[in-house]
């Protein structure tokens, strides 16, 4: 199975032309502004693995006035691998595993206050949605930031809908779990 991976993202960034590790890290963080920033170590390790697997190769060195840096380029195999990954359907929610869902069930099992937990979680979700909306709608925000904020907002919204429905169902749900 081909999953979400740093190697494909780096191959994608290399698709626009040769680049060195520092530049790849910087461009990653620009393209995926709300993602966890890539660590340099991870970029270099991944590049070495891409070279080992024949998906990328050393293009040359570039000093650009500063320290000498190795630049890399994608190979034809790399381009093929990237196209295959980009076109592959992501499995739609193959397993239902989610911390919020698990906490509600555990809370019911252990006689905890699932309703209070849902209320607090809902407030935290709303606070984060307000933050993301402010980022998204600030004047002059670039498209990459808008897209990533939208992505997060839609997922938080889906969580919220589930939490709202669950809160309304809690009485029934508790009876079921207790009976089981």
């Amino acid at each position: 199975m081909i999953g979400m991976s740093t190697r494909h993202i780096l191959l994608g960034l290399l698709a626009t032309g040769p680049s060195h590790g520092y530049d790849l890290k910087r461009r990653h963080d620009e393209r995926f502004p709300q993602a966890r920033p890539l660590a340099y170590g991870q970029v270099y390790t991944t590049l070495q693995r891409l070279v080992r697997d024949g998906l990328a190769e050393v293009d040359g060195t570039d000093s650009d006035g500063g320290p000498e840096r190795t630049t890399y380029r994608s190979t034809e195999d790399g381009a093929r691998e990237l196209a295959e990954w980009a076109g592959q359907i992501a499995p739609p929610a193959p397993f239902v595993t989610n911390e919020i869902f698990a906490k509600v069930v555990v809370s019911i099992l252990s006689g905890g206050d699932a309703e209070a937990y849902l209320r607090a979680q809902r407030a935290a979700h709303m606070a984060r949605m307000r933050e993301l909306t402010a980022v998204k709608t600030a004047r002059g925000t670039d498209l990459a930031t808008v897209l990533s904020a939208d992505y997060a907002l839609n997922h938080l919204d889906a969580d919220l809908r589930w939490m709202t429905t669950t809160a309304a169902r809690l009485t029934t749900l508790t009876a079921e779990v207790d009976a089981g």
């Binding site: 938080l156 919204d157 309304a168």
Partner: protein
């Protein structure tokens, strides 16, 4: 973000509102405060009393019991004449369907509150044009509501609600009939404009993504305000 820092006295406050429609009690004991320049989202399921709360706060209906205070005045006790004057000069209202007058152009719709307030036609049209511009629909000024997209019509309705420079805008599901992109444009236009002009907004919505444009949220459940945990 909000203009509410340091302001402690609410601009608009409802206390223990009770309102029944026939035998159904839409509100029983709802209290809510809106501070100057604040954007407040009122959320809750269908039938939780959101619209009735808005109608009481905007002076459109009177509560059975409880009080509504606006800038020190008891709205629930005001004579109808003073109430309608307040609604005309201090409040702006937008509904789910903009309720623009279908026979009038967007520009004339937006100018209408000014004409009703006695502003000369020429000046009213100029000011309305500026507001259409702020909402990005000046180019549609000569179109009638039926000739505009839903999002454009709603932005024209916002221009009409803000044209008199109200202190409070009441928006009841203003994006309820729009797709997500049009909804984003309407909400961005509304919140940017309200923040720039220091207008308070009471925003009713069942949509969390719309509520996230507000500074704060109040949740209604069964006609009363549900407890909100403060996020850690």
């Amino acid at each position: 973000m909000s203009n509410t820092e340091g302001s402690t006295v609410p601009l608009l406050a409802a206390r223990d509102l009770v309102k029944a429609h026939g035998r159904t009690e839409a509100l029983h004991g709802a209290s809510v405060e809106l501070r100057e320049g604040e954007i407040l989202a009122v959320t809750g399921a269908s039938g939780s009393g959101k619209s009735t709360l808005l109608h009481c706060l905007a002076g459109i209906v009177r509560p059975d019991t409880g009080s509504v205070t606006y800038a020190g005045e008891r709205l629930d006790r005001l004579p109808e004449k003073r109430l309608s004057e307040l609604r005309r000069t201090e409040f702006g209202v937008v509904f789910q369907f903009g309720q623009l007058i279908p026979e009038l152009t967007a520009l004339d719709n937006a100018a209408l509150p000014l004409l009703l307030a006695g502003v000369r036609r020429q000046e009213a049209r100029e000011r309305a044009g500026e507001w259409l511009e702020r909402f990005g629909v000046r180019g549609q000024g000569e179109l009638r509501p039926g000739e505009m997209s839903g999002g454009q019509a709603q932005r024209a309705a916002l221009a009409r609600a803000l044209v008199t420079g109200p202190k409070v805008v009441f928006a009841d599901e203003p994006t309820g009939a729009l797709d997500s992109l049009a909804s984003e444009q309407v909400m961005t236009a509304l919140t940017h404009t309200a923040r720039e002009s220091g207008t308070a907004v009471l925003l009713i919505t069942h949509d969390a993504q719309v509520a996230a444009y507000a500074d704060r949220e109040v949740r209604l459940a069964d006609g009363t305000v549900a407890p909100l945990e403060v996020a850690a």
